[in-house]
Structures are given as structure tokens and as C-alpha cells.
């Protein structure tokens, strides 16, 4: 047992920290720290910055232009990025599609698409869920019928995160209705500019446009855009989902959110004293600190096991559940900490460079809506109930 980072790992952390200090655009950092809206070019600039340093594709091996980092290095990187106030890395191309193409894609697909993910030519979105196929993803009905050298796609995807920024979508489509539902699914790469595609916004509970519906009306997709074999898409999708779930513990996000909470609790007053000194609030904070402290080690234990080869399966479900619940709890406490000033909400103040005077403390405006928005964490990426089913099933129950 040795819980210390090695000197190499510490030096690695220093490297990242210095890079972010020097190079992360301070306006972007401010936006993230103030919980303001990020636009497409904010993400693009952030990706481009990492790409110049070779740090964009943290889960990819070197041969494809990735970092080749191990899980501990990735963890350190995530922590430093969050602490520095960097935006998240948009995961669809980098963490989801990339690994699938490396494992199951054709040489031509790899050669064409992987570099375009790195240099920002393509913005991918994830076309899995449908109105009738959420937790029961295998019941999806968007159809692809082969006609000569194209597939003709009809149907609808939904919840497509940042689909309005994307020029490409990877989709699970039904190519057969024989056998079990899982056996008739294929994995298609679709150009969003194709005729017959329509993207419609879904406004979420905080009033923001983050997800979309994507409609397909006789959309023609060249057959070479099929990944792997027809009707084997479910296998690839599951592979992708395990990748989606690594890093899902969100330790970096929670750590940063907890730091923010601590800072706020030191300046918010209750009866003239810092809220952090109020026994009721302090007890709430201490509880979530304890949870996070334990989870950091759970996370690293699982990461260490993954580094020595055993694949994270049930463990990633565990991390997903605990990680999301902790993040949501921190959001809850931050909202609580504000007292009456959790109530005001000035939408325009979410734009950088607005000239609205803050209502109440200058950190207050986005807090309540962040709490509401992050209710999504326990719903998407496989709901927490589904994760529990997975764990229970693995126990033979």
C-alpha cells in the first residue's frame, strides 16, 4: 500500500498545471468559473489548444495521435483541467467514436475520421436514444435499408447533446428485425448535411438549448459508412458505453465544485458568521466531503486495477452511481448556501461580457440552474437504476 503519487506522476501533474496556467485563455477560464454559456468556438478553441500540445485524445494510443496515457495519468489530467477552470472535452468524437473506430472500423475509416476528430474538422454527436428507446436501447427503431451502395435511413433520434453544433452523427440503426432485438442493430456514420436530416432543439428545464431531436427522412448513407459488420452494432455500442463510463465518476468536477462550495460557505453569512461555521451547514458539507474523499480512493483503486489489465465492468457502474450522486449533492449544498439569493435568475448574465449588475453575490446567478441541470447526471449514460441492475445481474441475482 502506498497512496502517494510517484515523482514522475507529480512531475506530470506540474507539467499540465503549468501548461494550463500559461495557455488556457483567461476569458474562457472566467466563463467556466462563472458558469456562463460556452459556445461552439469556445469548445473548438479548447480542443485546438490541447491538440497543439498533443493532449487532446487522452484515451487514444500514440499511433493514432493520442497521448498513450495510462489511467492514472488521465485521472491527473482531468483533475488539473477541472481545477484550472477548463471546459470539458467534448466526448463524442474523442472518447466514444474514436475507440470504436480503432477497434472495429475499417482502415479507410480510421485514416479518414480519426485525424479529423483531432484537428476539429468534425464535430460528432451521439445518435443512440430514441423516444421509445431509452434504457431499453436495443428496442430502437430507426431503420436503415440497404439499396445498392447506400443505406436509406428513416426514423428519429432524441436527446442528441450538442447536435446543433455537430456535422456528423454516429447512429445505431435497425437493419434487421429477425432474432433478438440486439442482433439487428448496425452502427452507421452519418453526415448531418445529408438531405433529409432535420435537427430540432429541445429546451431543458433551465431554459437552455443543449440537446436536440434529430429526424431522418429517407437519408442516404454510403455503405462504406457502416462500421464493422451489419447487425453487429450492439457489440460496438456496448464497447463504446464502457468507454463513456470511464471517467464517469467525475472526481475532477466534484473536487472543483466542492472547492467552490467551500469558498462560498466562507463568505456567505448566517447571523453574521460565515456559513461554514454554522453547525448544520458544516455537517452537511462534512458529509459530502467524506463521501468524496472515500470515492477518490475507490476511483483510484479501480483505475489501478484497470491499469494492470482487469477491465472495469461492474466497477464503472459503481463509480457512475456514486460519482453522480456526490456531484448532485454538492450542487444541492451550493444552492442551499446562497439562501434567498439562490432565487434570482438573470438569463442575460449567462453571456460573457454582459453588463448586468449582479443580483446578490456575483457567484449566485447560475447556481440553482446548475443544480437542476445536473439532475441529468443520474439519468443519462445509463440511468443509475440501470447501473444497479447491471451490478445485481453480475452477482447472479
Amino acid at each position: 500500500m502506498d497512496l502517494r503519487y510517484s515523482p514522475e506522476e507529480q512531475a506530470f501533474r506540474e507539467d499540465i498545471r503549468r501548461f494550463l496556467e500559461d495557455r488556457l485563455d483567461s476569458r474562457l477560464r472566467e466563463k467556466v468559473r462563472n458558469g456562463q454559456r460556452l459556445n461552439k468556438s469556445d469548445y473548438e478553441n479548447w480542443h485546438a489548444l490541447l491538440n497543439t500540445r498533443g493532449w487532446l485524445a487522452v484515451t487514444w494510443p500514440r499511433e493514432y495521435g493520442g497521448t498513450g496515457w495510462n489511467a492514472v495519468q488521465r485521472h491527473i489530467f482531468e483533475e488539473e483541467c477541472c481545477a484550472a477552470g477548463a471546459p470539458r472535452i467534448v466526448p463524442f468524437g474523442l472518447n466514444m467514436l474514436g475507440p470504436v473506430l480503432m477497434k472495429f472500423g475499417s482502415q479507410a475509416q480510421r485514416d479518414y475520421y480519426l485525424p479529423r476528430i483531432l484537428d476539429g474538422s468534425d464535430w460528432w454527436c451521439q445518435g443512440y436514444s430514441e423516444p421509445g428507446a431509452g434504457s431499453d436501447l436495443a428496442s430502437l427503431r430507426t431503420r436503415a435499408v440497404r439499396k445498392g451502395d447506400v443505406y436509406v435511413v428513416d426514423g428519429q433520434k432524441t436527446w442528441t447533446t450538442l447536435g446543433h453544433y455537430a456535422n456528423r452523427i454516429f447512429c445505431l440503426v435497425r437493419t434487421s428485425t429477425d432474432g433478438k432485438p440486439q442482433e439487428g442493430i448496425s452502427f452507421l456514420l452519418i453526415d448531418m448535411q445529408s438531405p433529409g436530416i432535420e435537427v430540432k432543439p429541445i429546451v431543458l428545464l433551465d431554459g437552455e438549448h443543449e440537446v436536440n431531436e434529430v429526424f431522418f427522412d429517407a437519408v442516404q448513407v454510403p455503405v462504406e459508412n457502416l462500421v464493422g459488420e451489419e447487425n453487429r452494432g450492439w457489440t460496438y455500442a456496448k464497447y463504446l458505453l464502457t468507454h463513456e463510463r470511464t471517467g464517469i465518476a467525475g472526481v475532477g468536477f466534484s473536487t472543483t465544485a466542492l472547492d467552490d462550495l467551500r469558498r462560498i460557505a466562507r463568505v456567505q453569512l448566517k447571523s453574521g458568521l460565515p456559513l461554514a461555521k454554522d453547525p448544520y451547514f458544516a455537517a452537511r458539507m462534512a458529509k459530502v466531503e467524506i463521501d468524496l474523499e472515500a470515492m477518490k480512493t475507490t476511483n483510484l483503486r479501480i483505475i489501478a486495477a484497470a491499469a494492470t489489465g482487469s477491465a472495469p465492468g461492474v466497477e464503472s457502474s459503481m463509480l457512475k452511481i456514486k460519482g453522480t450522486v456526490i456531484r448532485q449533492e454538492i450542487n444541492d449544498l451550493t444552492r442551499r448556501a446562497l439562501g434567498p439569493y439562490a432565487l434570482p435568475f438573470v438569463s442575460e448574465a449567462l453571456e460573457a461580457g454582459h453588463n448586468q449588475e449582479a443580483i446578490g453575490p456575483d457567484y449566485a446567478n447560475p447556481v440553482a440552474n446548475q443544480y437542476f441541470n445536473n439532475r441529468k447526471l443520474s439519468i443519462f449514460g445509463g440511468s443509475n437504476e440501470i447501473q444497479k441492475n447491471i451490478i445485481a445481474k453480475s452477482l447472479g441475482l
Binding site: 431543458l204 434567498p340 439569493y341 443580483i359 446578490g360 437504476e385
Partner: protein, 387 residues
Amino acid sequence: MDFSHNEQRRMLEETATRFLRDNYPLRVRHEHAAATAGFSRDMWSRFAELGLVGALFHEQHGGYGGTGFDIAVLFEALGRSLVVEPFFASLLGGSLLAELCRPEQRALIAEIINGSRLVSVAHTEPQSRYDLADVATSATRDPHGGWRLQGNKAVVPNGDTAESLIVSARMHGTQSEPQGIGLFLVDARAAGLERCGYATVDGGRAAEITLNDVVLDESASLGRAGEAFAALENAVGLATLALCAEALGAMQAATDMTLEYLRTRKQFGVTIGSFQVLQHRYVELLIEIEQVRSQLINAASSIDSGAPDCQWQLSAAKHLTGRVARLVAEETVQLHGGIAMTWEYGLAHFAKRLVMIDHWLGDTDHHLERCVMLARDTGLSATSAIR
């Protein structure tokens, strides 16, 4: 022992429920919330005509109700429809006037009841959080007679549209002493009064108010010396009860929607309501909601009977409401899945109101602490509402 409401209250409940069902779908609520005022003046007049505003006040003040149970019944109905019209502000303002106003100011209450005047209460301050006695705004005697107010007020409900404001200000004493607080009736257009209105996360509107040397007549001061804090506590008590009842109504609406969804949404070839884990979690909510209903009854009864443990009962109700409201909000969203995260589907608006009710008039922790303090200082804890 009798847990049924009298005839008059049953009628109030029926009138409100039927009117809201027919005239106040969520779409209309959103339209009203998005209007400049944050509500519809036209709808407010209609509510007044129906007697719903009058239900907040006793007969002696020109109303048709005014008991804890009247208020509870009405606000529960308002909560089921997420009404954004200014009942809450009017209850606060009107109750203070009813208790403290001079005979010549009585007409104001009549104007509240007929919907022609909105009176809100500017009490909370940027530093006061939920502490009722924390008032830094100052009221000083003007050498020429009357008063001068100086200070800042925070998150005043409907403070941007109210025609009149009842402003609390310190006449003497230290910042968090109950004694020394005065209440003043101020015209919202008074010179030196500035207000900055904004939307609140839960669909209403509020305002920050700056009082910069606002000059008032002698008659602006409400009540006799030393009466203000007790009156404030009473009015806030009624408004706290109202919030608990509103939350109860919103909880019912949210769980009704959820039950319907559990029964109809299919995944894996079956309705999701057939999954036992979801059944249990849903049932848990119903059990907790019944607890809220019971404590609301305890609190309303303690107000109406003038029970000595009334403040404990009210804080117990607000504490429990805060706890259960968060649970209901989070769980009904989770049980729905992604659909509940949308603006369109509607559940989210109930969830938002349920969670944010905790930020009005003291949150779960504030009222838990208050229960502890009241029990310690006065020995008044759960002496039991059932006698």
C-alpha cells in the same frame, strides 16, 4: 376529533380547484410568468372577483376567511396549478396591514382584496439570510417630523410591481434584535426608493430595493412601538403555512404526473411502473407527502387555536416540507427519466418550485434549528397538536 373541512372551506376549495382546472393550464401559467409583471393583472382581477384573495383575510378586515385552514386550502389548490399571481406577497402585506394599520389605512386592505392594489413586504436584506430579526435598514426621526429610511432590501416578492411596500427598518437597537424594528408603509414610487426587478428560478418575480433617504410622514409608521416584530412573526407564520400548503399541492401534481407516466411508459416491453424498485420509490413519496399533510394540519390548527407551540409547529411544517419537497422533486424527475428534464413536459416546473420553496422564509436547516431553539428556550416542542 374531526378532520373534515366546514362547508365554507369546502366551497373555497371547490371554487379554486374548478376555476384553475378550467382556466389555468400550464401553458397559461408560463405566459403569465413570462409577462413583464411576472403575472397577469387580468387573471389577478378574476381571482379577486372569485373571492380567492378575500379568502386570505378575516371578515373584520373585509375578507371571507383568514384562518390557517382557509389559507392552507387555497394555497394547496394554487400549488397544484403552479399559480404565479401574487397571492403570497398579498398575504404577507395584507396580514401585516390587518394587524397594524390605522383606521384610515383600512381601505388598503379592501383594495388588496378587490385586486386593485398590490402590497408586498420588503423585509429580507442582503445579509439577513432567513433571520427575521436581522434588520440593518435604518429609520431615523426627521427633525421636521416623520421618518427617513436608509438601507437595502433583498428578494422582495413581486417587489417590482407592488404599488405599496411595507418596509421593515430599525428604529433602535443592534442589528439582530427583535426589539427596535419598525414597519413602514411606503409608496413604491417614493423619492429615493429604487427597485431592480428580476425573474426568480421558480417562475415568479422579485426585486432588490434600495432606500436612499426616503422621507416618510409620521403616519407611515405601522403599529405602536414594539409591536412590529410580533406582527411580522405572525404574518410570516401565515405565509410560511401558505408555502407549505402550496408545496403540498405541487407535490400532488408532480406525483400524479409520475404515476400516470409509470403506468404508460414502456421499456423492455413492459410499463416501467412494473419495476418493483420504481414502485417502492414512488410509494415512499406518497408516505412522505402524507406526513407533510399531517404536519400542515398541525400547524394550521395551532395558528387557529392560538396554541403556545404555534411557532414550533410552523417551523416543523416548513422543515418537513423542505425535506420532502426536495425528495419529491428529485425522485419524480428521476422516475421519469430524460423527459422530465425538458421545459416542455411540465414536471420540471413543479420540481423547480418545490425545491425553491425552501429558499423562501427559511430553509430546512433554518427551521430545524428554530425547532431546536424553541424547544430549548421555551420548552415548547412537540407538546402535540392533538389535545
